[in-house]
């Protein structure tokens, strides 16, 4: 099952505060 990744850190930080949910932030250099 694929993960639906956000590409916007600041939007995700705001959503996390609103929804009281933690964030998984994945730093990658892998080819797309």
């Amino acid at each position: 099952m694929g993960v639906n990744w956000s590409r916007d850190v600041d939007q995700t930080l705001a959503a996390a505060k609103e929804q009281f949910r933690p964030i998984l932030l994945d730093f990658s250099a892998a080819p797309a």
Binding site: S6, R7, I23
Partner: protein, 137 residues
């Protein structure tokens, strides 16, 4: 596992180099687990096989619950990790913190002596067995 418990966001070195600098990401892969306030609680640097990665995420959820003093949730995450992924690199640590979470919730210090024995018997070469030595009777 990821979608159920986290808001996932990806930063690629070519698309978002500023985010690497902002979060001090100095190697890839690096995974950060942030709590809902945006505070970093766990940093995973380097590749992990799938079972170890899932165990690491469970450990991170336990950590996030623990630092927010949600000790019952922390104990549940660490307990699930030990039960499901007892053969991973994160199991001994989870066994340790499961006991600490229980102690923090109940003030029952006997759990610490028990886990020290359990760690010595189950993961004798782990650093977590060593950290529990003061609790042995």
């Amino acid at each position: 596992m990821i979608h159920q418990n986290f808001l996932p966001v990806k930063a690629h070195i070519k698309e978002h180099p500023a985010w690497f600098y902002r979060f001090d990401a100095v190697w890839t892969p690096t995974v950060l687990l942030l709590d809902s306030t945006g505070k970093e609680r766990v940093r995973l640097e380097g590749y992990l096989p799938n079972n170890d990665f899932v165990a690491a995420l469970m450990s991170g959820l336990g950590r996030i619950a623990f630092v927010h003093k949600e000790y019952a949730d922390a104990e549940r995450w660490y307990g699930d990790l030990v039960a499901r992924f007892g053969n991973t690199h994160f199991a001994a640590e989870a066994m340790y913190w499961r006991a600490v979470a229980h102690y923090k919730a109940t003030n029952d210090h006997t759990v610490l002596g028990k886990v020290a024995e359990e760690l010595r018997n189950t993961y004798p070469s782990s650093v977590w067995a060593s950290k529990a030595i003061p609790w042995l009777h």
